[in-house]
């Protein structure tokens, strides 16, 4: 490495050396090692296809050494490239080893040269692309586009599932209506009175209370219980008013009633 400093590639080229100094100061301006290598290669002022990779490797290593001497922080990938180029340089300088496996030093050098040439080509292409007439800068579209007037026709659609869910929703909503006493299983005392009043006058003989339950209320136990209780309460009310008489002969025996004797 020291030898590079002694016989540095830019030793007798002041302009080149100044350029190299500028490069170092500017290290942040490079987009990675390949970008730096391309810039260095340009200083050789030859067709990129004839660039001397050996010289390029020296230039790069010199650059890295100087940057380190100036205590400039270099990103890791610059150092990785430096290591690889040092390896490549040694391979290029030594006579080829026939035992060596893998690509030859010349192949590696050719690939590096190709990479540089390809990057250079893409930069040129990018520049040519950006130099083209551009829409909105050189070439213009219709300034007042009419657009397509869309006459919209809406087709409404619904699926059977929508329909069923919609119906289910309306029915389910009923189940959550504000609470009211559900009277469907209840026979009220008013209803029992209503029922007994017109018929009680005709009951001459003692008759079982259960005979006065309304039709259809003696099956379901809940309904029978409700109807029995209301009817019994209604008979008590009517007995109080002196309209009928009640008797129960023994405990839990049937309750019987008949119209009051005047």
């Amino acid at each position: 490495m020291a030898e590079d400093f002694i016989e540095g590639p830019a030793r007798d080229d002041v302009a080149e050396r100044l350029a190299a100094e500028a490069l170092i100061v500017d290290v942040d301006g490079f987009e990675g090692p390949l970008d730096l290598l391309l810039t260095l290669a340009r200083t050789q002022k030859v067709d990129l296809r004839r660039v001397s990779v050996l010289q390029l490797a020296r230039q790069y290593l010199t650059f890295v050494e100087r940057a380190r001497a100036l205590r400039i922080e270099l990103a890791a990938d610059y150092l990785v490239m430096a290591a690889w180029l040092a390896f490549l340089k040694s391979r290029l300088l030594l006579p080829p080893d026939p035992e060596e496996e893998g690509p030859s030093a010349e192949d590696l050098a050719a690939h590096l040269a190709f990479q540089l040439e390809r990057l250079e080509a893409m930069r040129t292409a990018a520049a040519r692309l950006m130099a083209r007439d551009q829409l909105g800068r050189d070439v213009f579209a219709r300034g007042e586009p009419q657009g397509l007037e869309r006459s919209r026709k809406v087709i409404w659609t619904a699926t059977l599932l929508d329909l069923m869910q919609g119906y289910a929703r309306t029915r389910t909503r009923d189940d959550f209506r504000p609470f009211v006493m559900d009277r469907q299983g209840i026979w009220t005392m008013e209803e029992a009175l209503e029922r007994l009043r017109p018929i009680i006058g005709a009951v001459g003989d003692w008759t079982d209370l259960m005979a006065f339950l309304p039709d259809g209320w003696d099956g379901d136990p809940g309904r029978r219980r409700s109807a029995t209780a209301s009817t019994f309460a209604a008979t008590l009310e009517m007995a109080k008013n002196g309209r009928l008489e009640l008797r129960q002969d023994d405990m839990f025996g049937p309750i019987r009633l008949r119209a009051a004797r005047a």
Binding site: F140, R150, W156, D162, D174, D175, F176, Q184
Partner: protein, 213 residues
């Protein structure tokens, strides 16, 4: 400014060139351009009115034409080609919730009056909803109910059955099936369970108006 080439340092472009300049300016402009603006933008010594006149002639009978808009000029598509500038797009949209519910109630309870629909849904039915469903030809007027006021009733149509792939409204799943399918989640009132639902859906459509709730 026009017809004064002598005060120009440079010779004005030839007429054909002026014409294509005006053409490009009018094309790219977002608003009609006045003659004054044209003169301000064209090279010195151009005759905008003459260029406009030639351009108007060139576009005669074409798909585009030059049009005067107040004191300005613009390029416009020929009026007879307006039909190319519209495109009918067909958009399918899902029915609103109100419309679906109304439709469902008509389907399950037909013939049904507006008052009955409102009673079942618990909210008033907007005129628009019923009109929309009638316009879609999914519901139609049935016979008047023989009750005071003789209210109109609604029934579903053949088109409704076609759309939903039903051969008759009786094919609609009943409340019990809806519940079995998890579509009805609330628990029914205890007694309604026997009386009403056991014979659903068969007499569901004869049974009108709905007596429950």
């Amino acid at each position: 400014m026009t017809g004064a080439p002598q005060d120009s340092l440079f010779r004005a472009p030839p007429p054909a060139e002026q014409e294509r300049m005006v053409e490009a300016i009018l094309f790219a402009s977002a608003a009609p351009v006045t003659v004054g603006e044209l003169h301000a933008r064209l090279p010195h010594g151009c005759d905008a009115p003459a260029a406009l006149e030639r351009l108007a002639k060139r576009y005669e009978g074409r798909g585009i034409r030059l049009q005067r808009v107040g004191d300005a000029w613009a390029m416009r598509t020929a009026p007879d080609l307006a039909f190319l500038m519209t495109r009918e797009t067909v958009e399918t949209r899902r029915l609103s919730r109100a419309a679906i519910e109304t439709l469902a109630i008509v389907a399950y309870h037909q013939p049904v009056t507006r008052a009955e629909i409102e009673e079942i849904r618990g909210v008033s039915v907007s005129r628009g909803t019923v009109e929309q469903l009638m316009e879609m030809d999914w519901i139609k007027l049935g016979q008047r109910r023989q009750t005071p006021g003789r209210p109109v009733t609604f029934v579903v149509t053949r088109a409704f059955l076609d759309h939903f792939g039903l051969s008759s409204p009786r094919d609609l799943p009943g409340l019990k099936e809806l519940r079995a399918a998890g579509l009805l989640e609330g628990t029914p009132p205890p007694t309604e369970a026997q009386g009403v639902e056991d014979d659903a859906p068969d007499d569901m459509f004869e049974r009108s108006p709905p007596e429950e709730s």
